[in-house]
Subunit: 347 residues, 2 copies
């Protein structure tokens, strides 16, 4: 707000960021605020975008975000999808000219809160190398899909279509540890285990990149992760006639042109909310009760770890010390400071 | 037909099987006929099912297949979905109590032929081990999704959510070669590279199983393949209140209870068929023209290898000699023989 974002957009954006930290996904939490502030300062993120619905049917939307903050664009589009799904059983929305919108799962949670099935996809900066290519061409393009349960926590899959995000390489580079060879490839397109050298290639020289889910060869299924990433790109950026692949967020001083895809399905289209949530409970229990592998005590359901973190962090949301410092720095520029916090291991 | 299947169902089923062989997917082609004939003989596959639409809205269907052949059930459901998507922009169908339906991609091709986006999912016999479990609990549950192009071949991703199908282990076991450790795990849930020993475990003792896309650990993304397989199970079998997980096709003498999910999206819901197919052409070219990895000459688009095979096999469809023998054996039981064929390497 101090930088000119209106109160409602700021509230929505803060909600999405804090939800990520609360759910234990610090990489997509308030740590992103610095980038957003930089984007606003440089004019790459527009404070007063003219968000337009280009096309609308009873079950679909095409939206142009006009370069605004990603969170308010996606949040309002999801609200519209939920409303339309209540009237017409389902709604799919494809969105162009947006920006980074935080965790994809947030918008799925909005649908789940209404007892509906939610889907959220987004494309992203090209960081991933297609099978048999050598350079980053497509994004880590996440798929998030969730189903409401009754007594159990919802089923909520929220996964990048790369094996890992870039942040994982950074963790291993700092530790000086080798990475699995299904994470990233070098300038020749060859998988490598040297995180520090790979990061130098990817970040500084813009060669090589992350590998799709399944790794760098067809033998290990890498073409499947590559295919899924492309499907996400198509549903987000091709369907909306927006930006895709190497066009997305490529220059720091030009509009990012991120594209999203949202879907809401009303269980009334099938056998109803009561039937669905009961059946999801049973399904979750079937998975949880499967016999455990040697040395394992628990089988997790998609989203379960994040829901547990959320329950634990209801009052206080942990952030790393360097993120805290950055937040204070951003605030101090505008004479603001953080008023309530605890420090230490017990938080 | 000689076993009592009506002419139309037989024609549909043969069409789906031959399409698989023509597209180079022999594992799902006429080689499956033996199992279907066995299923018909034992009564597990019903010849005259009362296929019922349990619930219908302008954009959705819930269908009960009553234990009939999978192909005619899915084929007719896809026809209905296309018809409804023409009127109402999209249609999603969830189907219970069906049987093996061949390649998922076939039904997507039906939508593509009408200029529409197609989605086909199915659950299957439990062969895949969830992350941190030790036994097969969910199926290889494939995801097929396709987008129509204009001058290019369509984009058609058709992938099992396991790293590989069981047939790949059989190939390596015959050759006595080690397999990558992301393919399958033993009775303790530990990944192994011994294909012959793993097959003995999985097939004879029904322990261990195939690993999800991403392999046997969270480090390599196995929880993502597991999550995707569960999503397919939910959309097919939970939404339809049909069979899921360990319930599917578990006993050879009981109804298989396979569940499917079909979706058709009319591009008119977004920016129209003309815009979509043009944009898909551009997208395919962007991927194809990316710089190749060292030693690679070509970047493939999802479905491209299968479309190339289909074009090559327009007149004659190659099958392996042992499959040919089995077909003749099935025919000879009923006094039938194959009339037109070629043999030899040049075919």
């Amino acid at each position: 707000m101090a930088h000119g974002l209106n109160a409602e957009d700021a509230r929505i954006t803060a909600g999405v960021l804090i939800s990520a930290d609360r759910r234990g996904i610090g990489s997509h939490g308030v740590a992103r605020l610095k980038r957003y502030v930089d984007g606003i300062k440089s004019g790459v993120i527009r404070l007063d975008p003219k968000v337009k619905t280009i096309k609308e049917t009873p079950v679909s939307l095409v939206i142009d975000g006009d370069g605004g903050m990603g969170q308010p664009i996606a949040y309002r589009a999801m609200q519209k999808c939920i409303k339309k799904a209540r009237l017409s059983y389902m709604c799919l929305a494809t969105i162009r000219n947006s920006n980074h919108f935080g965790i994809a799962g947030y918008y799925v949670l909005m649908a789940l809160a209404q007892g509906m099935i939610g889907i959220t996809l987004t494309n992203a900066t090209p960081l991933v190398v297609p099978t048999f290519a050598r350079n980053a061409t497509i994004g880590t393009n996440p798929i998030a899909i969730g189903f409401p349960a009754k007594e159990e926590r919802p089923f909520l899959l929220d996964m990048a279509t790369s094996t890992v995000p870039r942040g994982k390489l950074e963790v291993y580079a700092r530790r000086g540890e080798p990475i699995p060879d299904c994470w990233a490839c070098d300038q020749d397109g060859k998988p490598s285990t040297d995180a520090a050298a790979l990061l130098e290639e990817i970040v500084v020289r813009r060669r090589g990149g992350l590998l799709p889910l399944g790794g760098g060869s067809e033998l290990t299924g890498g073409h499947k992760g590559y295919g899924l990433s492309a499907v996400v790109d198509i549903l987000c950026g091709v369907l909306s006639a927006g930006m895709v692949g190497t066009e997305v967020a490529r220059q720091p001083d030009a509009p990012a042109g991120v594209s999203h895809f949202l879907g809401v399905i009303n269980p009334a289209a099938f056998l109803g909310e009561e039937s669905l949530s009961n059946e999801i409970d049973d399904y979750i229990r079937m998975l949880r009760n499967a016999e455990k592998a040697q040395g394992q005590e628990r089988i997790y359901i998609a989203g379960e770890k994040e829901f547990i973190a959320e329950e634990k962090n209801r009052k206080f949301v942990p952030i790393e010390n360097n993120v805290f410092q950055t937040l204070n720095l951003i605030g101090s520029e505008k004479g603001l400071s953080i008023t309530e916090y605890k420090t230490g291991k017990d938080v």
